[in-house]
């Protein structure tokens, strides 16, 4: 599973961020392992990110999820040094961000990585098109070129006809589309999203999530997506890192998190997730018992369980779960019913 | 744009005065100075206005003549006595039209700094003193001797005088030996500053009309003497040099020849205006007439001056330089 750092879009290794007057000192001694409350009491410092490592594959949507105060927003800001990390290594596109000069860092921000913010961060005194073109403007591109590019992006995010409006004349969802367009306009390789939809109404949030999925399909950027909403994480993330008190407690695919939570904290988190919507047949398939008929319907192992119900109800034979040509196992109606009946208790999870 | 303008200005300032800037070289004091017209034959003359009406009367008559007979522009900046002397140096003042003594300032500015020169007497005789309304002298004949003042101190008590008798004083800038006199003559009195000539006049008029006891600082020439009966309190007689040390003064004020002081620059390049100022000389009655019109006749300084000038052509024609 693990990708080598060189081929990764983003590589993070041993990242620390400690806020406070004596950050370096805290990091140097054993205090850094103290609980957050104890650390603050003793040193006045807050450890927002503690020894975090992960890699993001090119073109992947990588989600960092955690409750407020878990350090996820600080983490994403450390990636482009909007917040200066206290220790650790960040590599983006093969380049060591920590070692970049201010000019080089600006280059990186101008061309390789852009960001979408929770509270949009639009400039109220500029028209939508000038907001979108802002990144190109600070690069020093000529006006005509950046406006042409901005118009193109505006239609990509569905904001045709709003170029001359001012941000405060748009709804929240549309404002965030402007934020999205601004980040897209510089054609970055990596896009960072800091809880971009949590300030929006639920229905609009769903639209915007669909929008991100669509954009990801169309433009294929590497994305790091910060959220506190588990369903959003499960919907968007190819892999999800769950953060708690500055550390990553588990990193894996949605299936891995739901199917095999690393600890009680994660288990508690995913307790209410309808597991049949997330887990695939691979999780409940079993070797065929002797004499079991193997002529039932055939489904790939990655099929989500709820989607297997239709096949199971059509045929009384056990479903053959395959990975390519290879038979992984079988699932029959009893297996499905047992799984569905037990899924809401959560007990099966820990048992598994 | 503005910033560039300012920078240019600064550069200009540095360039023109690269030997360091002195106060005189500052062309900034007034725009008239900047336009370099102050010393031209028909330019601007600045006569300081000190805060008493007699002074204003003289200043307005001279100003009227400078304007209407010689064609000068006249500014009458409101500057108190001692600051006006400093104004000679900065160019804020050309003329002090009525100077009351000030030997210390004369020494400093005329002899040492040489920024000012004397321009002759105004013809007025001035004397400062302590006065009471006449009815008090009638009731208590011995009150006019300073030795008996302490006996009557209670009469002069007010809410402001803190248990002592009150000596009402005028504008803080006036020539004053009061503090030293009270201390050195061991008088049980406290100076209460009315702050203006008007406060003194109002006090004197109320003292007469409502028979309120009042001891106050005042001076002659003044139109008030023709409207209100006042009696001067006799302080120890003035002798030559008794007021040399301002802290040890224990004698009355001397009678002074009021004179005119002008800036050295004005004396050298003031042309006809300077001549007129130098020639100006009139009597106490003349001044009182104009001052009375200004205070009680409801006239502005200019109107009162015009009235006097129209009535006394012979007097002022002698001042006009040929």
């Amino acid at each position: 599973m693990r990708v080598s750092p060189d081929s990764a879009a983003i590589g993070v290794e041993g990242l620390w961020k400690i806020f406070g007057p004596k950050a370096a000192k805290v990091l140097a001694c054993d205090d850094r392992f103290l609980e957050p409350a104890a650390l603050r009491e003793k040193t006045g410092c807050t450890a927002a990110v503690r020894d975090v490592s992960f890699d993001v594959r090119p073109g992947e949507v990588f989600v960092v999820m955690g409750l407020s105060g878990s350090g996820k927003s600080t983490l994403v800001r450390c990636l482009t040094r909007l917040v200066e990390p206290t220790a650790g290594r960040v590599v983006i596109g093969g380049e060591d961000v920590g070692a970049a000069t201010p000019a080089r860092l600006r280059e990186l921000r101008r061309h390789h990585v852009s960001m979408v913010f929770q509270h949009f961060g639009l400039l109220p005194h500029r028209r939508v098109i000038d907001n979108v073109a802002y990144g190109l403007e600070v690069q020093g591109r000529p006006r005509a070129e950046r406006h042409a590019r901005a118009a193109e992006i505006l239609s990509l995010v569905g904001l045709d006809g709003h170029a001359d409006a001012f941000p405060d004349q748009l709804s929240g969802g549309m404002q965030q589309r402007v934020g999205l367009a601004r980040a897209l306009a510089v054609d970055p390789q990596v896009m960072l999203f800091d809880e971009p939809f949590s300030a929006l109404d639920p229905l609009i949030r769903r639209d915007m999530q669909a929008e991100v999925i669509r954009l990801h399909r169309e433009v294929g950027k590497t994305m790091v997506f910060i959220t506190h909403d588990l369903s959003e994480a499960l919907k968007l993330g190819e892999r999800i890192a769950i953060m708690r008190a500055g550390s990553i407690v588990q990193l894996g695919t949605p299936e891995e998190l739901v199917g095999a939570p690393a600890d009680d904290y994660v288990a508690d988190f995913v307790r209410d997730v309808p597991r049949s919507h997330v887990l695939s047949l691979r999780w409940i398939s079993r070797p065929p018992e002797p004499g079991e008929p193997l002529d039932g319907p055939e489904l790939p192992a990655s099929t989500v369980i709820k989607d297997a119900i239709a096949a199971a109800s059509e045929s009384s034979r056990p479903i053959r779960v395959v990975d390519g040509d290879e038979l992984v196992g079988v699932v029959d109606r009893v297996d499905l019913l047992t799984f569905l009946s037990g899924q809401d208790t959560g007990d099966t999870v820990t048992a598994a | 744009m503005k910033i560039r303008l300012l920078a240019g200005l600064l550069a200009l300032g540095l360039a023109t005065a690269c030997g360091g800037a002195t106060v005189e070289s500052a062309p900034s004091a007034t725009p008239a100075e900047g336009s370099a017209s102050a010393s031209a034959p028909t330019g601007t003359v600045k006569i300081a206005i000190n805060p008493w009406v007699g002074y204003e009367a003289s200043a307005n008559v001279v100003a009227y003549l400078l304007k209407n007979e010689l064609g000068y522009t006249v500014e009458l900046p409101e500057i108190k006595e001692q600051l006006a002397w400093e104004g000679f140096e900065t160019g804020d003042v050309d003329v002090i039209i009525e100077n009351w003594g000030h030997p210390d300032l004369k020494k400093q500015f005329i002899e040492e700094k040489k920024t000012a020169v004397e321009a002759g007497s105004t013809g007025n005789k001035g004397v400062i003193g302590w006065y009471i309304p006449k009815w008090m002298a009638d009731e208590h004949p011995d009150i006019t001797d300073w030795k008996n003042l302490n006996k009557y101190a209670d009469l002069f008590k007010t809410s402001e005088s803190g248990g002592k008798g009150q000596l009402l004083f005028g504008d803080p800038s006036y020539v004053s030996n009061e503090a030293a006199l009270i201390k050195n003559l061991k008088l049980n009195f406290k100076i209460v500053t009315g702050g203006s000539e008007a406060a003194l006049i109002k006090g004197a008029q109320q003292a007469q009309a409502q028979k309120k006891p009042l001891l106050f600082y005042f001076w002659d020439p003044h139109w008030l003497f023709s409207k209100t009966e006042l009696v001067r309190v006799k302080l120890p007689e003035w002798t030559e040099g008794c007021d040399a040390d301002p802290k040890k003064v224990a004698c009355d004020y001397p009678e002074m020849d009021l004179d005119k002081i002008v800036s050295t620059r004005f004396a050298q390049s003031g042309g006809k205006a300077y001549e007129l100022v130098k020639n100006f000389s009139w009597t106490n009655e003349d001044q009182n007439a104009v001052a009375d019109d200004m205070t009680n006749g409801g006239m502005t300084g200019e109107e009162a001056a015009k009235k006097w000038v129209e009535a006394n052509p012979a007097k002022w024609q002698a001042w006009i330089p040929q």
Partner: protein, 637 residues
């Protein structure tokens, strides 16, 4: 409230009033025993004063040959004078029609014809009042001072807004500058920059810079951090972010900074006339020194009108939306107005036509005389009663008490209200006052301030509570307070002088009028800011309106009220000192005397310093309101 949950151990239960009462009794006893000893009577020939007077003589003699003056101070003077001259020249060159037209056009651009019309009318009124030239001088002085203040204050403010460290460094300096009574700068300024327009401009700048810095810093700090971050995330340089994000987003708050700077400058130009700055101030000072309200009133009206016009203009710029543009009609209107003015200015004579002036001096003087004579009984009664019952006893208490007793009282009071460090600062200030030889006069000034502040607080609380409780009353009161806060401080001396002549009471009256509006405002805000849910909860528990006020609103508005007291004291002190011009005596009069008599320069100078010390002391005694947690919170933790 939560504090009731905390109980003291029953063995130590003593009534809360006992300790303060005990201390008070102790002080009273000490006063009775030691009264008259350890006093520090005023000596106008104190060596400290003489030393400063000598220093002044020395500076006077070396003004033109000492390098500090030759190469620095005189250049500053020259430069500032040049800026003033530039403005004055330009404004005069426009002529009255041109200036009115241009101001009208600017007002139009700032806020449309609704602002332009009053601006034109206001500027015309200067001419009608016969004060055109003085007004132009004042405008030029304000313009020069404001421009220079902003040139210094805005960059500093931006710096302080961006850098926490700079903010920390600048704040205490601004604190002191803002509690420094205006009067106190004048003597040192005259010493270093001589007299005249440049010195007046510099004095005005010192007064006007603090709000420029403070509000600019605030404006920059208030800029949405996300917008700044977004800009940085796109690779903008710091300069790009500053120009493209910070400044545009801070614009409307910065317009308020300009507004405040102008207002401060306008209230200072009058006082600056004492060091011979030109303008309307000279008419006001002239009126003061002649005790003629007829001379002062038109000048006072002109200043207020100028303040209101400039206030309207800058406020309407501040209120504009972030992306509003000036319409074509607006541009056309403004352009036409300016062009018409300038063209007329070329044709018409430069002087305001005399036929269009109205001279009201005599009428106003008559009216004042009538008021004086017909209300003589009432005003004298008020004046004398206050003097005999309040001022004189209090003054003799302060001046006959031993200095150490007063110092101990100040220390204790400051400690109790504000904590240890402010208390030590206050004590330090008081000791410095004693060492400077200004003890007795400082005590007299303090008496006047004490009386004025008590009355101010009583009135302020009453009006503030009334406004907080009745929306209608608040609506009536608000415009009055707005206008009152726009008026330059000096204008308040006018009615006081007319009614009470030159006495201490005049200064008290003026400072009450001056300080009440902000106190009312703070009290009202404090009470209104009590959370609605708390009020609702108390009301639902069946509180009467009175109970609500005493048990909920006033205690919870405690901070605001203490802040109001602090503000009231600082403002009152400033005004009482200015009141030295109209008979308040003590420190303020010493300052005036310092300008007037060369031999007393040292005393005036030191009196100015003592005023500052007194201001810092009074501020420290009361500032705890702002920064210290309330006693309830302390008990709970």
């Amino acid at each position: 409230m939560s504090s009731t949950a905390v109980s003291t151990p029953s063995g130590l239960r003593v009534p809360g009033w006992l300790a303060p009462a005990g201390v008070a009794v102790l002080f009273a006893a000490a006063y009775l025993v030691f009264r008259g000893t350890g006093t520090l009577p005023h000596d106008s020939e104190a060596p400290q004063f003489a030393a400063v007077t000598e220093l002044r003589e020395w500076i006077d003699d070396h003004r033109n040959d000492n390098p500090v003056f030759l190469y620095f101070l005189n250049y500053v003077r020259l430069f500032v004078g040049g800026v003033y001259g530039l403005f004055h020249g330009a404004l005069t060159a426009l002529g009255w029609p041109g200036l009115i037209g241009v101001m009208g056009a600017l007002a139009w651009l700032a806020g449309g014809w609704r602002i332009a019309l009053p601006a034109v009318a206001g500027f015309c009124s200067f001419g009608v009042l016969g004060l055109w030239e003085s007004s132009v001088e004042t405008l030029a002085l304000v313009a020069a001072a404001v421009l220079l203040s902003l040139a210094i204050g805005v960059p500093l403010g931006i710096w302080a807004g961006l850098s926490r460290r700079a903010h920390r460094a600048v704040t205490p300096v601004l604190d002191v500058m803002q509690i420094m009574p205006t009067f106190a700068y004048l003597a040192p300024l005259a010493l270093f920059f001589h007299i005249g327009a440049p010195a007046g401009t510099i004095a005005t700048m010192i007064y006007a810079i603090p709000p420029a810095i403070r509000i600019t810093a605030l404006a920059v700090q208030q800029v949405s951090p996300t917008a700044v971050e977004a800009s940085a995330s796109l690779g903008a340089t710091r300069a790009q972010t500053l120009v493209k994000v910070h400044l545009p987003l801070a614009r409307s708050t910065m317009a308020l900074a300009v507004n405040q700077t102008i207002m401060m400058a306008l209230s200072m130009v009058v006082i600056a006339n004492l060091i011979n700055a030109p303008g309307l101030g000279s008419d006001i000072i002239l009126g003061l020194s002649r005790a003629q309200v007829g001379i002062m009133l038109p000048a006072g009206v002109a200043i207020v009108v100028m303040a209101m016009v400039l206030d309207r203009m800058t406020v309407s710029v501040a209120r504009r939306g972030p992306h509003s543009r000036i319409g074509r009609a607006g541009l056309a209107g403004a352009g036409a107005l300016a062009a018409a003015g300038v063209t007329l200015g070329l044709v018409l004579p430069h002087e305001w036509p005399e036929a269009l002036t109205v001279d009201l001096v005599a009428e106003i003087n008559d009216a004042v005389l009538w008021a004086e004579t017909s209300w003589y009984g009432v005003t004298t009664f008020i004046k004398d009663t206050t003097s005999y019952l309040l001022l004189n006893p209090l003054e003799s208490l302060f001046t006959t008490a031993p200095w150490w007793l007063v110092a101990a009282a100040v220390l204790l009071a400051a400690w109790r209200v504000s904590g240890v460090r402010p208390a030590l600062t206050a004590l330090g200030c008081l000791l410095a006052i004693a060492l400077l030889g200004t003890w007795e006069h400082a005590m007299r000034t303090m008496t006047t301030v004490a009386v004025a502040v008590s009355v101010t607080l009583v009135i302020g609380l009453l009006l503030g509570v009334a406004a907080a409780r009745s929306a209608r009353w608040s609506a009536v009161q608000r415009p009055v307070l707005d206008a009152a806060q726009t008026m330059p401080a000096f204008v308040y001396l006018l009615p006081a002088l007319a009614l009470f002549g030159t006495t201490r009471f005049t200064a008290i009256f003026a400072s009450i009028v001056y300080a009440v509006p902000p106190v009312v405002r703070l009290v009202e805000e404090g009470i209104r800011n009590v959370p609605g849910t708390v009020v609702e909860a108390a009301a639902s528990a069946g509180s009467t309106p009175g109970q609500l006020l005493w048990k909920v609103q006033l205690p919870m508005a405690r901070r605001a009220i203490l802040l109001a007291a602090n503000q009231g004291i600082v403002m009152t002190l400033a005004m009482v000192v200015v009141g030295g011009l109209v008979g308040a005596g003590a420190l303020g009069y010493d300052v005036v005397l310092g300008f007037s008599q060369r031999t007393d320069f040292g005393m005036g100078f030191i009196a100015g310093v003592a005023t500052v010390l007194l201001g810092v002391m009074l501020d420290r005694i009361t500032q705890g309101a702002d920064r210290r947690p309330s006693p309830h919170q302390r008990k709970v933790t």
